[in-house]
Structures are given as structure tokens and as C-alpha cells.
């Protein structure tokens, strides 16, 4: 196998991995702060992809505008979901919250998928390219401008999220709630608002992933299923609820998949990473990047 092919596969894996990183960061944020294992995360990916297609292809907007539309509308839908669905469940759920919300998000996923099926139908919507048809040569390997933009935009979004969480008042409040929600509440932090904003940020991250992918994966009602389970895989391996580690783990997964397809066959890519996952979980059941004993997230 020549080096150009390996570089090509790594670049392809990097763009794939950045999508996993975006999705799993959103998932980890929601899991770490709200204790919600969100199985409907892929449906926000689907909504983002539909919105992006509609604004890009149907309305003819610039890709940046279509990304902003996908992000902001999904953010609002996320807010509405938390306010209308999760908040009442939080209040009523008590000790059974985690189990309730587990079933609840699974149900939500099915409802979103079937609503999309009724509203937009079972057909596929795609565009040949988002940013342009150009293909760039990097060290002899060819990569489309759309894949490069996935890497670029995802890096910017993740960096912006990191700056937001680290340096803004709201970001510090979110981190405070993640560490100790009761203490944060005593310090005057409005916990319910933090939950709502966090949930919406998580949903918006998935929407960006969906919007960036419409030239590679056409959008249809069930499009979010595979990204969701891959994202779960990333956060389980990196350590449940740890946000920063999802990025290297997502990228690693993407590259393992593409190298697996390159050296073995397309069908082997899933087998290879699942074998690696089993080995990792045997030796580090709490994930690669997490220290300590295995604990339920509700015990932290």
C-alpha cells in the first residue's frame, strides 16, 4: 500500500472523526450536566441536515447562512424540548429520572423520525457539494473541499465551545452545575436555565454535524441513527460524561474506520473498531481518558 493511499484514508478519517467529535461532544455535554442519555441526539442531526438542505438548495443561501439557520433553529427546538418535555419529567421523575429519561429519549427519537416521515416523506435530499466542487491535493492525496470544510468548521465550533465554557460567565455556570448542582444553585445559578441552555447547545452541535454532511450523506428521516450509535461508542470509550476527551476519541474512531476499510475491506471497518472497543473496555471499563473506579453517573 503506497503512502498516498494511507494519507488519503487518514484525511478521510479525520473528516469523519470530526463529525463523531461534534456529535459526541453534544451527547457528553447533555449526559454530564443533565444526566440525560440522549438517544434522540441523531434526530437533531437529522433536523440540522434538513434545515441546511432547505436553506442551501431550496432557498439558495450561502453555506455559512445555512449553517447558522440549522444551528439557531435546532437550538430553539432544543430549548422547547427541554422546557416542554424534560423539565416536567425532571420534577416528577425523582430517583427514577435516569430510567425514565432513557426510555423517554428513545421514544422521542421514534416520534421525531416518524414525524419527519410524515412531513417530508421517505425520500432523500442532498446536494452534489456545499462549498464547491474543487478537490485539493495534500501530499499526493486528494480530498474534496467539503471534507476539508468539515474539519475546519468542526474545529472552529469545538474551539468556540471550549472558549465559551472556560471564559464566559454562562460557561462557568454550566461547569459549576456539572461539578455540584446544589452548590451552584446556592450561589444563585438558575439551574433550570442552565439545563435548558446545555441541552440546546448539545442539540445544536448535532445539527451542525448534520448540516456539514449533506453533500456526503443525503438526509432522510432515519439518517441520525448511525451517527448516534457511533457517538455513544465514542463517549463510552472516552469515559461517560467527559467532554474534552470526545474529540481525540472521535477522530481516532474515524481514522480506525477508514484505515480498516483501506487495509481490509469496507465491511471490516465496523468489526475492527468493535474489537478494539471490547479490548479497551476489558482493561479500562471507565473509558480510556477517565481515571478511577466504575461509577454510575448519578453517583458522581
Amino acid at each position: 500500500m503506497d503512502i498516498t493511499s494511507i494519507i488519503g484514508a487518514i484525511l478521510s478519517g479525520l473528516s469523519r472523526g470530526m463529525i463523531y467529535a461534534l456529535m459526541s461532544t453534544g451527547l457528553a455535554l447533555i449526559l454530564g450536566i443533565l444526566n440525560v442519555p440522549n438517544f434522540a441526539q441523531g434526530e437533531f442531526y437529522m433536523i440540522g441536515a434538513y434545515l441546511s438542505w432547505f436553506s442551501l438548495v431550496y432557498l439558495g443561501f450561502h453555506p455559512v447562512v445555512s449553517l447558522i439557520i440549522a444551528l439557531s433553529i435546532t437550538f430553539i427546538i432544543g430549548m422547547a424540548c427541554d422546557r416542554a418535555l424534560f423539565r416536567p419529567l425532571r420534577k416528577l421523575g425523582g430517583r427514577e429520572w435516569l430510567l425514565n429519561v432513557f426510555v423517554f429519549t428513545l421514544g422521542l427519537s421514534v416520534i421525531f423520525q416518524n414525524t419527519a416521515l410524515v412531513v417530508v416523506g421517505p425520500l432523500y435530499y442532498a446536494t452534489p457539494y456545499i462549498w464547491g466542487p474543487e478537490v485539493i491535493n495534500i501530499l499526493g492525496a486528494r480530498i474534496s473541499i467539503d471534507r476539508l470544510m468539515i474539519i475546519f468548521v468542526a474545529s472552529i465550533v469545538i474551539s468556540a465551545l471550549w472558549i465559551f465554557l472556560k471564559y464566559t460567565k454562562l460557561g462557568r455556570a454550566i461547569r459549576a452545575v456539572a461539578q455540584d448542582s446544589e452548590a451552584a444553585s446556592l450561589m444563585g445559578v438558575n439551574i433550570e436555565n442552565i439545563y435548558m441552555i446545555t441541552f440546546s447547545i448539545g442539540c445544536a452541535l448535532s445539527a451542525i454535524a448534520g448540516a456539514l454532511m449533506i453533500s456526503i450523506t443525503p438526509v432522510y428521516p432515519m439518517v441520525g441513527s448511525i451517527p448516534t450509535y457511533k457517538s455513544w461508542f465514542v463517549i463510552i470509550l472516552s469515559g461517560l460524561g467527559t467532554i474534552g476527551t470526545c474529540i481525540p476519541m472521535g477522530v481516532l474512531l474515524g481514522i480506525i474506520e477508514t484505515l480498516g476499510a483501506l487495509f481490509a475491506s469496507e465491511g471490516w471497518q465496523n468489526v475492527i473498531y468493535l474489537v478494539i472497543a471490547c479490548i479497551i473496555l476489558i482493561f479500562r471499563p471507565y473509558g480510556i481518558f477517565k481515571r478511577g473506579v466504575v461509577k454510575g453517573i448519578w453517583e458522581r
Binding site: G8, S215, T217, Y220, L262
Partner: protein, 432 residues
């Protein structure tokens, strides 16, 4: 005899019983030919992927069936027809459940149509177990014929397989490539072909057929890969294929997302091969997804050549708002015509009754009596091949697909020579 009956009464009772039994027997077996009443509504199960990665085909099937039914006034032999969709979701297991439900719960009388080979293969057992005829399923793979041949009597219920096995049709691709090689249009560099197909019975069957045909001509198979039916990122496999520098690349995908993504990514990785993408044209709006990446791609699909076919395309587009893809909508329209004609013949013979005998008649009419359907818009004649059932007869005057090459979203016929609109054009990057 207090409390008993007299001898006369006993004789009378015996006479009444004997007369009643005789009358009953006559009524049951002689005077009325059937216990089953004439049908009030005929329920036809239309099988296909109504949702999932090949939902476009299911939508086209239902639309074509509805259009054909509307044209015949919604009735067959005066009996109103109800079309019941049977959604397989592109999954054989789900197909079996949906079909059994259609028979047991929805009460369909006969089934027709269908798309995937893997689904066809799985449903053959359902039809056999229920002694239930299914007319004209599109599933094409060789494994279907093998299963049928393993017990032709048990599996007789699949009639008029609507898409022949790949080797009967793919001869055309081989002809196109090797005729171009002989004429010096293609100057092979490695005399090799790379094959990358969906991981289904259809994909594997098609890939093996092409591989065998090229090997027979002295070429080598540089690579043979299979991928998930809904895979959208083919770059790793294509990167490997590019390094092998094959002269010809062959792919076939029934899923809209996988097929169109593959065509785009072939251009993205810069594969310098002549690309055969069997089935790209099955997908509606495929050009909206591939753009100019589909230029120079070779495919094999039927076209609307006759005035009747053009009229169908016009009516379909007017009614449903999109151009009917010939391979799914066009063939399904003929499929509906064939199925309705067979059912009409059965009902004519049974006097509007649908029972076990009617189900047997479906098989008998199509297979033993060699039913011919000549009112189709895409093929001259549809009839089951007596030497190789349940496949249809393939060849000129019967079932034949032209080979086309795409430019700007339009296909130009390049084979057979009698129909050819243009010569095969080699992409400029092939010579680089």
C-alpha cells in the same frame, strides 16, 4: 310404548334423514360448484421498500400501480380492487413479517411486485408455506433461481420474476467494453477490473457475474469489495482501488444514498477508470445528488421510446409531479399491467371467485400456459422462460435493456448498435 315413538314415526324420521342427507350432498357437491362466494373486493398486496434506503422504488411502485388501476377503472372483471402496500424497509426479516401480516390480517388475495433480491429470496418461503402466488417480483439475483431449482414444485408460487439474473443482462456491459477494446477506443493499461458492490444477494450476484465475464476474456479482477447497503463514505475503498489502477470499475447499489455518494467520491479520489455504475438511473433525482460527477458513467436502464411510453411518462409526471424513473416506475407500470391481466384471466375462469383453485391457476396460466403480455410500454413481450422459470425470456423482441452513457444528467444509448444514439466516449483522465 309410553314416551317412545311408533314404528311409523321411526320410518318417517329415517326417510326424512335420508332425503335431507341426499339433498345436502347434492347442494354441496353437485348443484353449487363452489362454497366460496364471488369476491366483493379484490385485495392485491403490492410489495416494495416503502420506507428505508430504497423508498424511492416503493413510491414509484405504488404510483405506477395506482395509475394503471385508475386506467382500468379501478376494477378487474367488475370487482373493485384495493392495493395494499407491503413495506419491506429493505430488510428481508421485516419483509417476512409484513407479508405474513398482509396475508393473515389484511387478507390480501394475491401479491405482486417487489424490489430487493434478498427480500425476494426470504419471501419465497412465505409464499410456499402459504401456497400463495406472487406475481413479478423484481428480485434478480442468481440465488433466487438456485432456490427455485432446489424444489420447483414447492417454490412454484413465485411467477414471472421481473428482473432476469445479471448474467443474462450484463452480457451487454461486457460487449460494450470489449468491442471498444477491439476497435482501439479503449487502450487497456492493466487489463483489470475492480468491483465494489452492495452487500446483498443482488450486489454479490452482479459482482460475481461481471468478474467471471471479464476473467473469461483474460482480464484479472484487481479487487472485489462489498459494502453496507446504506454506506455513504466510500473514500477508503476507492483510495485502495485507485492504487490498483484498474481499467474498468464496476459498481451496483440499489440504495439512493450509497449509489450517488459512490459516483461523487469516484471523481473525488480521481479514479482513472471507465466507470460502470449499474442502477444509478434507478434513483429519481440522481443527478441532483451527483452533479457532473456522473458524466462518462455507463449504466443500463430501459427508456421511454414508444409513443405509449412517452404518454405514460407525461401522465405520471402530471399526476405525481416528478419524472418516472424507467427502471422502477416504468417497469412497475408494465408489472401492474401484467399482474392485472393474469388476475383477470383467473377471475374469468373461476367466475369471480378467489380460492385455492384460483391461486393454483395463477401459476398454471403464467408457467404452463406461457402467458404473454404485449401491452407493455418498455418491452415488446413479457413471458416466463419455459427453460428457466421464473425468469422472463430475455433478448430482442422480449426483455432487453439498452446500455447508456451519461452526460449532463442525460443518458445516451450506446448499445445495442441498432438503437445506439452515440459511441462510447472515454473520459479524458483515463488516458492520463
Amino acid at each position: 310404548m309410553r314416551g317412545g315413538i311408533t314404528k311409523l314415526q321411526a320410518i318417517l324420521i329415517a326417510v326424512i334423514v335420508v332425503v335431507a342427507a341426499a339433498v345436502g350432498t347434492y347442494v354441496a357437491f353437485v348443484s353449487v360448484p363452489r362454497a366460496v362466494p364471488r369476491l366483493e373486493v379484490l385485495k392485491i398486496g403490492v410489495q416494495g421498500p416503502m420506507t428505508g434506503p430504497a423508498a424511492y422504488a416503493g413510491r414509484d411502485f405504488m404510483n405506477s400501480y395506482r395509475l394503471k388501476l385508475e386506467e382500468i377503472g379501478g376494477k378487474i372483471m367488475g370487482i373493485p380492487v384495493e392495493l395494499i402496500p407491503i413495506d419491506c424497509e429493505s430488510d428481508p426479516e421485516k419483509a417476512v413479517r409484513a407479508y405474513e401480516r398482509a396475508i393473515m390480517v389484511e387478507g390480501i388475495h394475491v401479491g405482486a411486485c417487489g424490489w430487493h433480491s434478498s427480500v425476494h429470496l426470504a419471501l419465497m418461503d412465505v409464499w410456499a408455506a402459504n401456497k400463495f402466488p406472487h406475481i413479478a417480483h423484481f428480485g434478480a439475483a442468481h440465488t433466487i433461481l438456485e432456490k427455485f431449482r432446489s424444489d420447483p414444485e414447492y417454490y412454484k408460487w413465485t411467477v414471472a420474476k421481473w428482473w432476469p439474473v445479471p448474467e443474462k443482462l450484463f452480457v451487454a456491459y461486457v460487449e460494450v467494453i470489449f468491442s471498444a477494446v477491439e476497435r482501439g477506443i479503449i487502450k487497456p493499461k492493466t487489463r483489470s477490473i475492480s468491483i465494489y458492490v452492495e452487500d446483498t444477494d443482488w450486489g454479490r450476484s452482479a459482482g460475481k457475474t461481471i468478474a467471471a465475464a471479464f476473467e473469461k476474456r483474460g482480464w484479472k479482477v484487481a479487487s472485489f469489495d462489498v459494502g453496507a447497503i446504506d454506506e455513504t463514505d466510500h473514500v477508503p475503498v476507492l483510495t485502495k482501488v485507485k492504487a490498483l489502477n484498474p481499467d474498468v470499475f464496476f459498481g451496483t447499489w440499489t440504495s439512493a444514498i450509497a449509489g450517488t455518494s459512490l459516483v461523487k467520491q469516484i471523481r473525488e479520489v480521481g479514479l482513472r477508470a471507465i466507470v460502470i455504475m449499474d442502477g444509478l438511473g434507478w434513483i429519481p433525482q440522481w443527478y441532483e445528488m451527483t452533479g457532473e460527477a456522473s458524466d462518462y458513467v455507463i449504466d443500463m436502464i430501459p427508456g421511454y421510446a414508444t409513443p405509449e411510453a412517452k404518454e405514460f411518462a407525461r401522465k405520471f409526471e402530471e399526476k405525481y409531479g416528478y419524472y418516472p424513473p424507467p427502471s422502477s416506475a416504468g417497469l412497475a407500470y408494465d408489472n401492474a399491467g401484467f399482474a392485472f391481466a393474469v388476475i383477470e384471466e383467473v377471475l374469468r375462469r373461476t367466475g369471480g371467485v378467489w380460492d385455492e383453485e384460483a391461486r393454483e391457476l395463477v401459476v398454471k396460466i403464467v408457467r404452463e400456459e406461457r402467458f404473454e403480455y404485449r401491452e407493455g410500454i418498455l418491452m415488446e413481450c413479457y413471458t416466463e422462460d419455459p427453460n428457466d422459470p421464473p425468469d422472463l425470456v430475455v433478448g430482442e423482441g422480449y426483455y432487453i435493456f439498452p446500455v447508456i452513457q451519461y452526460f449532463g444528467g442525460q443518458g445516451r444509448v450506446i448499445w445495442p448498435s441498432a438503437w445506439a444514439e452515440a459511441e462510447l466516449v472515454i473520459p479524458p483522465w483515463f488516458e492520463d
